[in-house]
């Protein structure tokens, strides 16, 4: 069983951890205290664990933590916190795009990825970009509404 010391930047802060070869990035992040990254299927099927890795949104359950050595990770709390909500977060609350909240961190990551590369997405483009994030509560409508509203807010 090999042990690896990894250095990462998480939400702008330098962090390090000792992980085993087979530890997934998801489990490492959560054991490092980043409980805002949620764990569910651990097989890349649900998107709850989505984070930004060097600027790209990925399922953190589909990587070994050791692979992320030297990488920059942004979680939902790196996108916005209670003191300073990102428009995506604020609109999800305003438009009713959150119910139980378990899928929400992953959805915020995917939504941010979309608006970063496409500031004026169509509803269909929003649907496509969220296709890897399962939500069981909302039926997705109000999430789409929220992202449209956030895009408009950001454009202004």
């Amino acid at each position: 069983m090999s042990e690896h010391r990894i250095k990462l930047k998480v939400n702008g802060e330098a962090e390090s951890a000792t992980v085993q070869g087979h530890t997934t990035l998801l489990r490492a992040l959560r054991s490092m205290g980043h409980l805002d990254v949620k764990s569910s299927c651990e097989a890349g099927d649900c998107g709850a664990c989505a984070v930004f890795l060097d600027g790209e949104p990925v399922n953190s359950c589909l990587m070994f933590a050791a692979q992320a050595n030297g990488c920059e990770i942004i979680t939902v709390r790196g996108i916005g916190t209670e003191e300073s909500l990102h428009p995506i977060q604020r609109q999800i609350v305003e438009k009713g795009g959150v119910q139980c909240g378990f899928c929400t961190p992953g959805i915020v990551v995917s939504a941010k990825a979309l608006l970063d590369k496409n500031p004026n997405p169509s509803r269909q483009e929003i649907r496509r970009e969220l296709a890897g994030n399962l939500c069981r509560c909302t039926g997705y409508q109000k999430i789409f509404d929220a992202i449209e509203a956030a895009a408009e807010e950001i454009r202004q």
Binding site: S2, H4, H22, D45, C61, L62, Q67, A131, G132
Partner: protein, 286 residues
Amino acid sequence: MDYLFVESVDEALKAAQSPGVAFLAGGTNLVPDVLFGRKKPDLAVDISRLKELRFIEEHDGRIRIGSLATLTDLLESDVVRTHALPLHECAAEFAGPLVRNRATVGGNLLDASPAADLAPPLLALDGRAELVSLEGKRSLSLDEFFLDYRKTAIRTGELLTAVSVRSLEKEDCSGYCKLQLRRAMAISIVSVALFLRIRGGRCTDVGIGMGAAAPVPYRSVGAENCLRGEIIGKEEILNSANAAREDAKPIDDVRASGAYRRRMCGVLLRRLLQNALNTSTGNLSA
């Protein structure tokens, strides 16, 4: 499981000399396989940052795609979209955006699922695989790459470095269809990819790739033979669809029965042929 990060193909090959070594690229198959105990490699050799294996280039009528090109790379590539459209359409329906950012061309092929999404378009487009080992290089047609259920022609100590496909010309026809139980993040029930070259009113070349219809992805040679050299009309299309059904060796599983899959091979191919010919020549006698 041990983990080793390598910085060159050569280092990767040297590390892979012992048995029990797995190459780690995107990890979208290997990581959950290890977590759930389906695979137990002694060592994962991390090749995911080998830049030399992540490229998409075109020359001499072929498009070469590095084995570490991600599905997102494929989807965003203008070269692929303009000259290998079925591959682009396949990438568009592959899993979801989060998975596409990490899943690689090589990973999808080497996982060797009968439903491997990339296989049908790569097969239809005359795909070839390039492999390298400490002993040297070799390449083979993708026809010969899928040997049996979850078994490819790759040898221990070999690394899949690239695949290549023909580059389609403007007048070529093509198509792709994935039948699935929901509109994203779903394993194919059946998938079909088509390449069709019509010159002087006659089919001069054709490639039909089939997925999830047999223990391996394959080219439906029977269906191709109904078209090659022919002036394609209603009858030829129906014959080809029939042959596609006959060529199939589908199983029953949670997603569908073999009988349904077999029938869908015919339906999907027929539709792709009708669409391809309607859009190109506009004068199909169908």
